[in-house]
């Protein structure tokens, strides 16, 4: 490890904080890293001056979805194609509740309900799978099929009978007319984040939603760093590496997977809530197969065992995908995927980090997403 990494015996609050944020489970455990991190955050904060905060905020929102998969797959070994289910549940729940209670208090409650709804959905599916003894590829398939079932179901909610209170689910056309995101308590203190162009010192205009998304992404990233470097994080990693062996050390593996999966669901739902708030609209394509596969792509390319990799890859890939016009873009994206997963199965960010820290790890020896492990009997 870098010699200037914080150790638990260092005095000073800063060192103690760094101690919680650093560890073998995350990339970047040196002063240099945090310096670069600070620069990147400042750059992101300054971005709306030169670029479109309104457009870019989408990538920040999706980065939360990528982080949710990194948590569940990269850190617990559960390859889930179902993160978009919780994303969609979050978005739709937010929409339904906020349409029915369109004041600040109601919308705030809707946001919370969305996150909780996603978490509950994940807990239910997780319980069904893990406590039912479903493992490995079958978990992945069930999450994929669940996504398909949700897609098919939501797409046919077109009739007027599919209305919850004032909110029609809208079938394939989706649910428009979601109230503008205003958080707080009605009449006491609230702030509108969406479509609320503000200006700083009369000099430049900015979109507060961008900063909301950025703040949430930052908090989530740092919070997850603390989590994966904690005792619980170490057990999560042990479960990913060899769940049978970990059980033999007295750990309740089912419970750990369920907890992680639930947290991942809540996180994906948060992303969905922000997505629906940003677009003031939500529709069934969030459950589509290609969208379900996107997080897997972001995380695979970025480095699934790396939170930073998930964030960077999501932003980069989505930026590329949505800004480059033309049909060739998808061809290039597809080819990129192919090349990256074959050449760098461990992901880009860990590879780069390895180079920067001077370790000469040959590419073929990097963490392989599914390197064959020990076969454990029964």
């Amino acid at each position: 490890m870098a010699t200037d990494s914080a150790s638990a015996t260092d005095r000073g609050a800063l060192a103690r904080i760094r101690g919680r944020l650093e560890g073998p489970n995350t990339i970047g455990n040196s002063r240099g890293f945090w310096l670069g991190f600070a620069v990147a955050v400042l750059a992101l904060a300054a971005f709306p001056v030169v670029g479109s905060g309104e457009s870019f905020s989408l990538f920040l929102v999706l980065a939360l979805l990528g982080l949710s998969l990194s948590l569940v797959w990269g850190y617990s070994g559960v390859l889930s194609f179902g993160q978009v289910v919780f994303f969609g549940v979050g978005g739709y729940t937010f929409g339904v509740v906020s349409i029915n209670f369109p004041d600040a208090t109601g919308i705030t409650a809707a946001a919370i309900a969305g996150v909780v709804g996603g978490g509950v959905a994940a807990a239910l599916l997780g319980y069904f799978m893990f406590y039912g003894g479903v493992r490995d590829v079958y978990v992945t398939i069930i999450t994929l099929v669940t996504t398909m079932a949700m897609h098919t179901f939501m797409a046919q909610t077109a009739g007027s009978e599919w209305t919850i209170g004032e909110a029609p689910l809208g079938g394939f056309n989706g649910m428009p007319g979601i109230p503008l995101l205003e958080l707080g308590i009605e009449g006491v203190a609230s702030f509108q984040f969406v479509y609320n162009e503000m200006s700083l010192l009369g000099l430049f205009a900015f979109d507060p939603f961008y900063y909301l998304a950025l703040a949430l992404l930052l908090v989530t990233y740092l919070g997850l760093r603390v989590l994966v470097n904690s005792d619980f994080g170490r057990v999560m990693v042990a479960v990913r590496e060899d769940q049978d062996r970990t059980q033999m050390f007295g750990y309740d593996v089912k419970r750990i997977k369920l907890l992680t999966f639930t947290l991942g669901g809540a996180l994906a739902a948060l992303s969905g809530v922000l997505y629906a708030a940003r677009n003031v609209y939500i529709s069934p394509p969030v459950f589509a197969l290609w969208f379900a596969t996107l997080p897997v792509i972001w995380v695979s390319v970025g480095g699934r065992k790396s939170l930073l990799g998930a964030v960077i890859a999501t932003i980069a890939i989505e930026y590329f995908r949505l800004s480059v016009q033309g049909e060739m873009a998808l061809v290039v994206l597809g080819a990129m995927l192919l090349v990256f997963i074959l050449a760098l199965p461990g992901g880009i960010v860990p590879w780069v980090a390895g180079k920067l820290s001077g370790s000469a790890v040959p590419v073929s020896e990097l963490d392989d997403a599914d390197a064959p492990g020990e076969v454990s009997e029964s």
Partner: protein, 313 residues
């Protein structure tokens, strides 16, 4: 009586669809442990090849189907050599930088999903760029069977028959031929198979080719009844997946049984609710329940059941 006939036809329809959609994927997943998310695009390949052979080359439909299947099989071999086994890149790598460039994708489920998803993106978009958003379809042959106030496409009945033929042919291939034995040996234990002199590399290549060819055949067979768009593969993919995993370890029997069970569920619900959408949802839910309560799929369950029966004797 009429509704009974409706139900029967719906079942045959579902059965044929599931079996034909799954056949190629079952072979590849069951034998190589590779999840081919581009499976739908191989079907696309076969469908487009068939359609264009008829409209552009003027081939009769059956000939076009054969040609298309063979072309898809060939394309599958190319894909296997470059992406799945990495043979070609590694051959290049050995001669330039002196080492292998990539690892084979066998038994790497997540990685094979990402890689083949990339492949599918490339294929769909290439089809769109090369041929536009849709191409002309070929007509459905054979006409209709009439009963009561309904009529049913004879061709779809033919498809049901062909799906059974495909199962029988696959069964024959895997159990009665030397090739089939080699494949099953490799599937069971690659190391031992190699030690016994089986060229496992070639076996994988041929297996992927056959799986691709079957997918191409599915595309060819369905070409007359589908609209020819670059995204036509999507509708097959999920059903194929689900059928393969629900089917379990036995490639032929598993596909047949899951085709039967899932087809029955889908047809019954479609019939009762008058909505193919609900039929599809029911199929997916049935699959989830099957995966939860029958770990190892249907044939896995059968194997365990037989084992338990034996121990009680």
């Amino acid at each position: 009586m009429v509704n009974g006939l409706n139900l029967a036809f719906q079942f045959l329809d579902s059965f044929a669809f599931v079996v034909l959609a799954a056949a190629g994927l079952a072979v590849i997943f069951g034998i190589m442990g590779v999840i081919n998310l581009a499976h739908g695009e191989f079907i696309l390949f076969g469908a487009y090849a068939t359609t264009m052979s008829v409209t552009n080359l003027g081939l009769p439909l059956p000939a076009a189907m054969v040609v298309a299947s063979l072309l898809t099989a060939g394309f599958g071999v190319v894909v296997e050599r470059t992406i799945i086994s990495g043979f070609v890149p590694n051959w290049i790598g050995q001669r330039t930088v002196g080492r292998d460039l990539i690892e084979p994708l066998y038994d790497r489920l997540a990685d094979s999903m990402v890689a083949t998803f990339g492949l599918s993106l490339v294929m769909v978009q290439s089809a769109r760029i090369l041929f536009g958003n849709s191409i002309d379809t070929v007509g459905t042959p054979f006409g209709n069977v009439a009963y009561g106030a309904f009529s049913y496409s004879t061709y779809r009945l033919v498809l049901a028959g062909i799906s059974v033929l495909v199962l029988v042919a696959a069964y024959y291939l895997f159990t009665r031929t030397t090739f089939g034995t080699r494949v099953r040996a490799t599937m069971q234990d690659e190391q031992t198979a190699k030690a016994l002199g089986i060229d496992t590399e070639r076996t994988y290549m041929l297996t992927f080719g056959i799986g691709s060819g079957l997918a191409g055949l599915t595309g060819a067979l369905f070409a007359p009844v589908l609209s020819m768009q670059p995204t036509l593969g999507d509708q097959f993919l999920i059903e194929a997946f689900v059928a393969v995993v629900v089917g379990g370890p036995s490639v032929v029997l598993g596909t047949a049984l899951s085709g039967g069970v899932l087809g029955a569920v889908s047809a019954t619900v479609t019939n009762l609710t008058d909505s193919t959408t609900f039929g599809r949802i029911a199929l997916l839910v049935a699959a989830i329940l099957a995966l939860r309560f029958l770990p190892g799929g249907i044939t896995g369950f059968i194997e365990r059941f037989q084992a338990r029966r034996r121990e009680e004797e």
